[in-house]
Symmetry: C2
Subunit: 584 residues, 2 copies
């Protein structure tokens, strides 16, 4: 037996016991006649002690290097100088037998909470990075969250059903990863972007409440913090309305917040998509802080300020307590919004001084009275700084939304230990894509229009049709989204036509689903959470990578195992494939 205890559990109660521990050498302190070794495992650190009473052992201990794997047997004794910072700090092990289980080369970075290893190096040696507490604890945290999710949902009667990974490529949505079939030359499976159609078929199959924590795949050009494979908590319910779904999954997230953080939230607020866009310029607003948009378009036009007079929209936010910002500080913000990533042409500011007076960059055009009106509209208080952007409505909303988040970040308003969930509902069913000159499904092609809006699908501008689609937003991140689905063949066919599918294409791609709808499909709907992000946000972080055991880099590579890689000519031939070399 390699150990009787872990390195995290011994304390004063165990004094006098003979124990065996195994773990990694974290640190060796060689005081000459005494050597202390910090032995580490997943559970903690325990101090081993060696002294001159056993010189052979002392010499052995002297040779230990960092990250050596050792087994130590000995007696638990009280420590002379206690370490109150760790649970095992009252004791140490007076070692009487030491076995080196494996030696270790010096690791390429320090295995400490704060490491000297850069991102690239840590990815290459991910197995060493995982030994570090911050990474290890995030993985353990993820495991706890998933188990809590599963327990909650199965208690609610959900059935965990595994859907297939080798499915069929569909042109809708993002790009598929495909898998060539050896047995069917020239044919390919695709990896699922989500189990969407399968969960709907489970509803047709009467399965009624389905859940799965499942890997999904998207072959997208990777942005920072996007992974080609990601994990979804995927759920679907039959015989439900939107209200049933919102209540069920609000229950789940409440349960997680309670279990993990001891936080109780009575009822999650709800906001329509239109309202979210109007108030925050964004369909996933962070509502941990205010700074709601004020629409200054009417108030600011027609006062001789040409820049504003030409614009579709003039929107402002009141940054709390920032009226005393220096010119330099304000210039920095202006520079920030003018960066190509944001793309604003300029920014107008108004200081609402503590004494009630206003000082702005457009004092030439606006009276104190005018600016007082702006303050009312943006809900500014004395001491606040009003920041104003203008342009066409969509762009200005996007820019001001980014500015709002940036100011909140700067002011420390995005507190990682505060949780502000929000349902955003009543999403539009369709959006128009200028590039391809056709409608895209805002959620996906299986989302049902609101029954009261369905007749508008046949009008000239079906973009006004709303869907029973909803997102769950947490601290400014979309952590989940879903919709009530179409369960009628005709409606599904009409929808696919609207999205540019010919009848023939629709039948080839989704015939199995539309056929299924003819055999008694129940009303149904569902939701999926992005697990990687959900876990990160519950962990108080916004980057997902450390919550993934073996993440890929931004080029989609696993630099540890060096994948993707070439395959043999024999493999290619078996798959009836040939690689096309670039003509250069």
């Amino acid at each position: 037996m390699y150990r009787t205890h872990t390195c995290g559990e011994l304390n004063a109660e165990h004094i006098g016991q003979e124990v065996t521990l195994s773990g990694w050498v974290q640190k060796v302190r060689d005081l000459g006649s005494v050597i202390f070794v910090d032995l580490r495992d997943r559970y903690g650190i325990t101090q081993l002690s060696f002294n001159e009473e056993n010189k052979e052992l002392l010499e052995q201990a002297r040779k230990l290097g960092r990250e050596f794997v050792v087994q130590a047997k000995g007696k638990v004794i009280e420590r002379a100088s206690k370490n109150k910072k760790i649970p095992t700090g009252d004791i140490e092990i007076l070692v009487d037998e030491l076995n080196i289980l494996n030696e270790a080369k010096t690791p390429p970075f320090t295995i400490e909470d704060q490491t000297d290893g850069g991102e690239e190096l840590r990815m290459k040696y991910r197995y060493l990075d995982i030994r570090r507490n911050p990474v290890k604890e995030k993985l353990i945290f993820r495991s706890k969250v998933t188990q809590a999710v599963r327990n909650y949902l199965t208690d609610q009667g959900f059935i965990d059903v595994e859907t297939p990974y080798l499915i069929k490529s569909t042109p809708e949505g993002a790009r598929d990863f495909v898998v060539p079939s050896r047995m069917h030359p020239g044919h390919f499976y695709a990896l699922p972007q989500s189990p969407q159609t399968f969960k709907q078929l489970l509803m047709v199959g009467g399965m009624d409440k389905y859940m799965q924590i499942v890997k999904c795949f998207r072959d997208e050009d990777l942005r920072a913090d996007r992974q080609p494979e990601f994990t979804q908590i995927d759920c679907e319910m039959a015989f439900v309305e939107q209200e049933d779904i919102l209540n069920t999954f609000e229950g789940l997230v409440k349960h997680l917040l309670k279990e993990i953080h001891g936080i109780e939230i009575e009822k999650f607020p709800r906001m329509s998509y239109d309202e979210a866009m109007r108030k925050y310029g964004n369909d996933k607003p962070d509502i941990r802080f205010g700074m709601e948009f004020g629409d200054l378009t009417e108030a600011a036009k027609g006062k001789g300020f040409n820049v504003f007079d030409q614009q579709e929209a003039i929107l402002g936010i009141a940054v709390p307590g920032a009226a005393n910002y220096t010119r330099k500080q304000i210039d920095k913000i202006t520079d920030w919004v003018k960066r190509p990533q944001i793309g604003a042409k300029g920014m107008v500011y108004v200081k609402y001084n503590e004494d009630g007076s206003f000082k702005s960059s457009v004092d030439k055009f606006y009276t104190q009275e005018d600016l007082k009106k702006w303050a009312e509209i943006t809900n500014a208080k004395p001491g606040d700084l009003i920041l104003v952007l203008s342009g066409d409505l969509d762009t200005t909303r996007t820019q001001l939304s980014a500015l709002r988040m940036e100011m909140a970040e700067q002011l420390g308003l995005r507190k990682p230990d505060e949780f502000a969930p929000l349902w955003v509902v009543d999403f539009p069913l369709l959006e128009w894509d200028e590039e391809t000159k056709r409608y895209h499904a805002m959620h996906h092609p299986f989302t049902a229009p609101k029954p009261e809006d369905a007749h508008l699908l046949d009008t000239k501008d079906p973009r006004i049709v709303r869907a029973n689609a909803y997102d769950l937003v947490l601290n400014g991140n979309e952590i989940g989204g879903g919709s009530i689905r179409i369960h009628d063949k005709q409606m599904q066919a009409k929808m696919l036509n609207l999205l540019g599918f010919s009848d023939e294409e629709a039948q080839k791609q989704f015939g199995f689903l539309m056929n299924a709808f003819e055999y008694g499909a129940p009303p149904h709907g569902g939701l999926a959470f992005g697990l990687d992000r959900l876990v990160a946000i519950l962990g108080g972080q916004e980057t997902i990578r450390d919550y993934i055991a073996f993440p890929k880099n931004n080029a989609g590579r696993d630099v540890m195992i060096d994948a993707p890689d070439t395959i043999s000519q024999e493999q290619l031939e078996e798959l009836h494939l040939q690689i096309i070399k670039d003509k250069e």
Copy 2:
């Protein structure tokens, strides 16, 4: 709200309540002035009743077809003629409002426990097949088993870690499915055959107790009841010896047998690979019944029976109570063993009559005394039938093992509600492959030799080296297997060399793992269960297909969604691929 109750929960206690149910029309019984409708959902069946008091409603009910989806509102009343077979049989719903939620075409097969649909049709309309109780209940059963597994293992401190699906192709083992990379032309990911190397890296990373229920992929020529994608309960532990692993997972299976069947088994028997081969000709013996092999080689040779005298091995089993088999019955068994699938040249039988006398097909060569000796060796009792096969040892064992199972099947000794687990241990490390003229790893290339046998690796016949490898066998099926792993770079390199890898190939394929071993790899080992089979056997079945929601057929096709399928030229070009047409 679509329903206040499910179709499985109303009983006499609810009489008088106004309820709303939704579900599928199972059956309509039209008695003219009264119509009864069986409404079905996942939870059960409830009878709806319509009568002449509401003629309009009666007419509406008359139009309902099988599998229509309806919502019914009404009052729970006591049934005139009760149905004691179902939990809701004491009541019915006197309907006062009926809404057709979706119509249904007549399904292509009956949605009954015993259906008239053939395998192919049921696969194509899998969503209808799932509505049938036997399939639905198997999927629910699977969900319960996986949840029980997760709860047990997380209670034991295991961390559920997701390993990647887009990894690297390795030539060892079965054929990989590969995934072309668009971003890295000419390069491919591979889908994991198992997360083997990743779980070992988690051990190097200090994660200590890992579990995952995970999909694995093998591009094999499919045999019956094999799926290209299958699910594993994958586990690994560090700082453990074989004994720790056996105890941990024996605990898991005990827990499942207790939870699911209320069966308590004190201690699972253990048997060495050698013993299993000797006694049952098979490394996964079904020990629910006896019929252990008797080795008649010595006793049966040298008595003038030429056929036996030439053979390496003569093995027999005693079939209990079959001494009274007719000539015709015995001929049928002989024909059975001579089928090409078994391939025996012939069979010798000995009837051990109730009166103590023997009657055999080789009476010409053997005395009663000789045959009595055979009876002793095969442990036959009066009334038993001894069946004897001969040939080279390996083949004879395989054939007699098949015969033993067949006889047990015929005699009803393979009881689905009896569970006989068995650990088979001390597997050989290597096996020789005649075809490729090289050694194969019996378990996999990461399995460690037994320390006491390791020195034999350098001898001429390393096949005698045993491994700390073990299988868990349940009712004649291998449900899990694993081993103690190599955790030393040199040993891993030597092993890969033995398996035919050059140093360079070993480094290219497994360099990341061998490098990891240099940074303090702990001793570790693990095990994986085949979930599909485990669930089937716990469910008392041996075919796995019905325990998989959307299985593929024997050609690896999903006939419901019609995958694999062609992809567009544009997709191929993005992947820098071209399909090679067969030259014919």
